[in-house]
Amino acid sequence: MDARRGSEPTPMRNRTTVERKSERELVVTRTFNGPARLVFEAWTKPELFKRWWVPKSMGMSLRSCEMDVRVGGKYRLEFEPDAVAFFGTYREVTPHSRLVWSNEESGEASVTTVTFEERGGKTFLVMRELYPSKEALDAAGTGAADATVETFAQLDELLLTMGASV
């Protein structure tokens, strides 16, 4: 399964942790091997942001990415092929250390807070997503990864139907 080619140097990969802190809050952490100003730049410049925000495994790509990174500024991401849009407003912008924005594409907005903490030339990043309700977090989408789980759930259902129809 490891598609990495032998000739490439293996970069040191840091671990991504994901924890559901409460019914309404998801917390993701990761260390990056670079100073906070560069990691922050990659979160706040659209031409950089769009290179990593939609990984291939999501099964989607970005049609457009607009980001007006200042308090009260708007952002808008549009996906292909189905023109789904994510949009919202920046609430806090503290260069190299803190970003807060609201996600307004669904009726009840969730709020994303990202902190960048530099530790010896590396950056420890914490991202918190606070949802308005447990149900909203339960339903939070992850793109193609959902499809895998959905497929699995459908198979479960099919199995039960097979059992029931005999």
């Binding site: 970069p11 990969r13 840091n14 991504t16 942790t17 994901v18 924890e19 559901r20 998801l26 993701v28 990761r30 990056f32 091997n33 670079g34 560069l38 990691v39 730049e41 990659a42 950089l48 290179r51 990593w52 925000w53 990984p55 291939k56 495994s57 999501m58 991202m127 339960d138 939070a140 992850t142 793109g143 990864a145 959902d146 895998t148 789980v149 699995f152 198979l155 479960d156 199995l159 039960l160 097979m162 059992g163 029931a164 005999v166």
Partner: protein, 121 residues
């Protein structure tokens, strides 16, 4: 995760390969039942039914709970599996994003190095 999932599928399929076990699931979809009820309904011995229920239980399709002398069977909810899968799904997404972000940060670092060199020249 993948291995775990395929093991679970194997168990599910083999559990469902038997007509009695499929009938038991159908029965439990309507209402919880004791092993004795199920044995009666399917004209089997208690021991035979216990075996079938055991197979379904190992596949996660059924859960059982003993209250007093009666073991009650119900459809398995796989709640823990679902929660683990939910977290894993989010972890995979963020991990994939952050692997790409690593590349972007690496490039920015290289760019700074080059720029720094240019300035010194």
């Amino acid at each position: 995760m993948v291995q775990y999932a395929s093991r679970r599928l194997d168990a599910s399929f083999s559990a469902l390969s038997d007509v009695t076990r499929r009938g038991v699931l159908e029965q439990l979809e309507r209402a919880d039942a004791s092993i004795t009820d199920l044995a009666d309904k399917f004209h089997m011995t208690l021991t035979g039914m216990k075996k079938h229920v055991g197979v379904l239980e190992r596949a996660g399709l059924v859960t059982t709970e003993k209250v007093g002398r009666v073991r009650t069977c119900k459809l398995g909810r796989r709640r823990l599996d679902e929660e683990a899968a939910w977290i894993e799904r989010h972890r995979q997404l963020w991990d994939a994003r952050f692997d790409e972000l690593d590349n972007v940060v690496e490039e920015l670092k290289q760019r700074e190095k080059v720029d720094g060199r240019k300035k010194r020249e």
